[in-house]
């Protein structure tokens, strides 16, 4: 393309005009992404969820191996909402394993300091966000979740997702809760928890699901640093 003097001057004049228009119109991006403030053009920043410590249950319900209970951990997000915030639930399951494990997953997230036989998984499927179930009898997994027969070593209680049939093994060696069948790209996410007396207290949750904030890596690292 040939650039003569007239064209150059026109282009140079157009740039500030277009830029000015963009600045004026940028607040309209809030129509698209309600968590973005005015004049904030970065469309990728997530919200920081806060949940705090919540007592979700008692170890009295977790006496024998494979005892379990469901609970809900509530996170809230600052929002440009009519109420000014938004709440999101994370469904969870607490269960007692037959043996003690280190509750650390493949991506290095530790849910508990030291070894534990009580573990807390988020029931939000890491695949597409459905709520998966704890299935005490693995025969039900075969019958109800597409016909998967677990290998001999995994024929015990499992966790299975109704939507796309991902099956999770809570006792998976070195990565409790890892996926053993189905399209899920990783194992079940963890809760960070403590046990004080009989109280099971959730203090945090592994991020990455769509129910919670999709924090960009930098922000995630900063928050992890602040916690540690």
């Amino acid at each position: 393309m040939k650039m003569d003097r007239r064209r150059l001057i026109k282009t140079l004049t157009a740039i500030p005009i277009v830029g000015g228009l963009l600045v004026i119109l940028s607040p309209l991006l809030r129509y698209l992404k309600p968590n973005d403030g005015p004049f904030q053009i970065n469309m990728t920043a997530g919200d920081t969820p806060s949940g705090g410590a919540q007592v979700v249950g008692s170890t009295a319900a977790l006496q024998k191996p494979w005892d379990y209970f469901y609970f809900t951990y509530i996170q809230s997000f600052p929002q440009y909402d009519v109420d000014g915030y938004k709440k999101a639930n994370i469904a969870g399951v607490a269960l007692k394993l037959p043996q003690k494990v280190k509750f650390v997953n493949a991506s290095g997230y530790a849910g508990f300091d030291g070894e534990t036989d009580v573990v807390l998984f988020q029931r939000i499927c890491p695949h597409l966000g459905c709520i998966f179930n704890f299935v005490p009898d693995w025969h039900e997994v075969t019958a109800g979740y597409g016909g998967f027969v677990p290998p001999k070593s995994e024929q015990h209680s499992l966790m299975a997702c109704p939507c796309h049939l991902s099956i999770y093994d809570p006792t998976f060696p070195n990565d409790p809760g890892n996926v053993i069948s189905g399209p899920a790209p990783r194992g079940a996410r963890y809760f960070k928890f403590e046990i004080k007396g009989q109280d099971v207290i959730v203090t945090g949750a592994e991020t990455g699901g769509i129910a919670e904030c999709p924090a960009p890596p930098g922000r995630l690292a900063r928050r992890a640093g602040a916690e540690g």
Partner: protein, 383 residues
């Protein structure tokens, strides 16, 4: 550069003149029932728009009010069940008629010159109808709607796993934009309502501009056909009351859970594929549909004269029916099935390609053995 633009403009001008949105230029062929589906597309679209506007009178677009307002409309309001049934089954009819029309245009080779633009618009309209479908059935705010919306809006987050895309965060931004926040909630419902309504309004206006300019008739069906179709829709609404499902519960996914019928095959694909590919595959499918007029370069319109594209069409239909059957029967052993399906696909595509090659070679041999003057005589006779 300028020449390319001029060519493109000419191409567009030509295709615009031959544009056919609802078979309104093919009224002479209506003794074949496949050529009334275009009219039926328009008819069912209008049924859906009219009943949709009536539904808006009663509908409350809130997470707490939506389900109850629809229940109230269906059970307490005179003929509420009819309006809702016509809206639902009219939408089903819209998807069915668009699909039949797509297959007719595909197998009859009507997407070839000068029908490329008509085909592309028709194909895009199927995608828009499906988006209207998923945003529409979310409005009931029942379990099926809630989990469909949640899974569909989680798929884009995997786009960030494409190398180089992660930094941009576009996938998460897409999910955020449609969710209106970090999780499915009131903002999502409002946005879906706006999209559901907006798609039909915008495209109805565009279609009206088209008919205003071309002065064509919109609906080229006899009153008898229209009457029968409307009566049938009303009867189905009465006989099969549109299902309510259960109120959405964010803490419990029911087992089993199925999507609306036209998403079932895609749902099975999502089970079989890793999530990133499950997000890309529908895009590839839509991409294939949009560019198929430019891939199939021969002038032949008869199906057996272009074996490759014929087989691809039949195979796509077989996959749609097969996957739908599999998901209805709840069969999906993810470690066993995908290699089998992949192997079948490779074999079918290879055989189709071989058939195409053999066919072309045979035709070339036939043309070579034929006496040469035959093609030369025709222009002489025409002039």
């Amino acid at each position: 550069m300028e020449a390319v633009l001029a060519n493109l403009r000419e191409w567009l001008q030509d295709r615009k003149q031959h544009l056919d949105l609802f078979d309104e230029t093919k009224t002479a062929q209506q003794d074949n029932p496949l050529y009334i589906v275009g009219g039926l597309v328009w008819l069912s679209w209008m049924v859906v728009i009219v009943t949709g506007i009536i539904l808006m009178v009663w509908y409350i677009p809130t997470t707490t009010g939506a389900y109850r307002s629809i229940l109230h409309l269906t059970e307490d309001i005179p003929f509420g069940w009819l309006v809702r049934g016509m809206h639902k089954y009219g939408a089903d009819m819209l998807v069915i008629t668009i699909t039949i029309r797509i297959y007719r245009m595909y197998f009859a080779g009507e997407y070839k010159k000068p029908g490329e633009l008509s085909w592309m618009i028709l194909f895009a309209s199927l995608v828009l109808a499906m988006i209207s479908g998923i945003t529409g059935y979310a409005l009931i705010w029942n379990q099926r709607a809630f989990w469909a919306a949640k899974t569909v809006l989680t798929v884009p987050t995997y786009y960030d796993e494409i190398p180089g895309m992660g930094k941009l965060g576009i996938g998460h931004a897409i999910a955020y934009i449609f969710l209106g926040g970090p999780a499915l909630g009131q903002a999502t419902l409002t946005r879906f309502y706006s999209i559901h309504y907006g798609i039909s309004v915008v495209f109805a206006i565009l279609a009206e501009i088209f008919f205003y300019r071309t002065r064509r008739r919109r609906l080229n069906l006899s009153f008898f056909t229209i009457g029968i179709v409307l009566a049938f829709l009303a009867y189905v609404s009465f006989d099969q009351l549109a299902a309510m499902g259960r109120w959405a519960n964010p803490n419990r996914t029911p087992l089993p859970i199925l999507s609306d019928w036209y998403f079932l095959a895609l749902y099975q694909v999502v089970k079989y594929m890793p999530p990133l590919w499950a997000g890309i595959a529908p895009g590839l499918l839509i991409g294939y549909g949009m560019i198929v007029p430019f891939l199939d370069r021969t002038k032949e319109t008869r199906a057996f004269e272009r074996p490759f594209f014929f087989v691809v069409g039949v195979y796509a239909l077989a996959m749609f029916v097969g996957f739908t059957a599999l998901i209805m029967l709840n069969i999906a052993v993810i470690s066993r099935d995908p290699p089998i399906i992949f192997a079948i696909t490779v074999v079918v595509i290879t055989l189709a390609f071989a058939w195409e090659m053999i066919h072309r070679r045979r035709k070339a041999a036939l043309a070579a053995s034929r006496p040469a003057p035959a093609p030369a005589r025709r222009p002489a006779a025409a002039s």
